[in-house]
Symmetry: C2
Subunit: 303 residues, 2 copies
């Protein structure tokens, strides 16, 4: 099953050096989910060949402009190109009021159903679930209400060990029960444990998005044992005072977080405009956590 993330925007506050404000597209089994939607996200989607109407769920971390000012334009364009499918947007208190005020003054009545769900910034919360995926929000520590998002692939069913089931003669009608954990009793009364008739599934994968936040222990419980951790790394550690003042993180701190939570891989982004060259940020993080990559726009990262 496909599970990967496309970086659409990697810049902090201001667009610069061809970098755009934050947005990411997560593809889980060909279902597309957008995380944050900085100004220009709809143009980035066009650039990377993504039809925006394939997106059914948008998750907004917080109401600083560089994380959501492209949302109204994207919602409007979806309307203009004839979207009919409903759209779900998840974001902090205030987001619905902002969207409503825009459409009040533009006198827009969307042709599709838009549902705005308010996230909570004080508790972890499952905000979306389908047959493959579970998405939860969790509190980050930023200047204003801000949440991270965690994408957990659901546990897969085991696969049938055909060689064994055929040797035993398990009727095909029973196989879907066996996959679901029912033992098989043969006509001679022999009981075959389902574990012995199946091959264990691959472990479910997980992706966590942490931007924007200051380095605190408070959100670490929510991102334990994550496969791929996206963590903001706005500054080099020589600017740690500025990072603390502005409720941001350094590349070193992102690496420390990755180690503390047992992350397999780390993706850093949300680069300050002071860094034209990103290699020093990558180097700083890799010195502590080797499995770091830069979030680069247009790149897909497999989870």
């Amino acid at each position: 099953m496909k599970f990967e993330v496309l970086i659409l925007g990697s810049s902090s506050a201001t667009p610069i050096y061809g970098r755009h404000p934050t947005a990411q597209l997560v593809n889980v089994n060909e279902q597309l989910y957008l995380i944050d939607c900085g100004e220009g996200t709809q143009v980035q989607l066009i650039k990377y060949g993504v039809r925006s109407n394939r997106i059914k769920h948008i998750f907004i971390s917080h109401l600083h402009g560089d994380h959501y000012l492209g949302l109204i334009g994207l919602i409007s364009s979806m309307h203009l190109v004839g979207r009919k499918d409903e759209l779900h947007v998840y974001g902090p208190p205030g987001l619905k009021e902002i969207i409503d005020l825009h459409f009040l003054h533009s006198q827009t009545v969307l042709r599709y159903a838009l549902h705005v769900h308010t996230t909570q910034d004080d508790v972890q919360d499952v905000i979306f679930e389908n047959e493959n995926l579970l998405v939860s929000s969790f509190p980050l520590d930023h200047r204003i209400a801000c949440t991270g998002f965690r994408f957990d692939e659901k546990k897969h069913l085991p696969t049938i060990d055909r060689e064994k089931t055929e040797a035993i003669g398990v009727p095909s009608a029973y196989l879907s029960l066996v996959k679901r954990g029912y033992d098989y009793t043969a006509s001679d009364g022999t009981i075959y444990r389902w574990q012995d008739l199946t091959v264990a599934p691959p472990a479910p994968r997980s992706y966590a998005y942490c931007s924007d936040t200051v380095r605190t222990p408070s959100y670490l419980p929510f991102i334990q044992q994550i496969d791929l951790l996206y963590h903001e790394a706005t500054f080099l550690h020589e600017m740690v005072d500025r990072a603390v003042d502005t409720y941001h993180t350094t590349a070193l701190q992102a690496a420390e977080v990755a180690i503390e939570v047992g992350a397999k891989k780390l993706l850093i982004g949300h680069y300050s405009a002071r860094y034209k060259d990103l290699k020093p940020l990558l180097q700083e993080s890799r010195e502590t956590f080797a499995e770091t990559q830069l979030a680069l726009e247009g790149n897909w990262y497999r989870i």
Copy 2:
């Protein structure tokens, strides 16, 4: 004196084919004025080498997203790069409320003074004036409250005809009075008319911006004898019914307006996403009004 306009965005509703939503930069004597501010305008300014903090006045025609969704991002970026000069924004009722709500939720306190002035969509109104320039808003006829903007260069003083004044022996202290329309009385009592001592100044130039609007006679009085008319031409005339339904104009209609108001030149823009190739729009307009040009992003047009 410089008087020219840079096209930053030429697309209607949605960004497409590398075209961006509406924004224009007017340079009058090295003072920069922004008209409309679609999503991505701040990136377009960077692309064309314009420092946004040189802009002191922004004029917003109406509250459809493609004409103003870049405004909050631009205002925020000006703040982040340390702007100190005050900024004046002129736009329809509702604009201030939208800006205030954004900054309430992002908890932004701008480091510079932002003044939002509400335009009127039922009367012509002088909204800005300095020593070189007069800007007025005037009603257009769109689905929601919408104004055009007219930039009028102020009348220049005549230049002194040095040959004559030196022959007569007009003292240099009198010359600035002569320029301002005072006759000169020589010591022998001869009166020299100021008109005979000066060379008439070039006629003051004018630029009008008409987007978005349906074709009606109502706004023609406000754009009479304009030097350069920017007029939206969203559709080809074969789509005139759609133009009327959506309160827009065709390329033919833009040309007809240019003729009716005695415009010297016409610039068409705000192209529908259905036209990848813009030549048919240009051709249609030129068949009626030869002095038509396409508004193309990155191009400066002299007035």
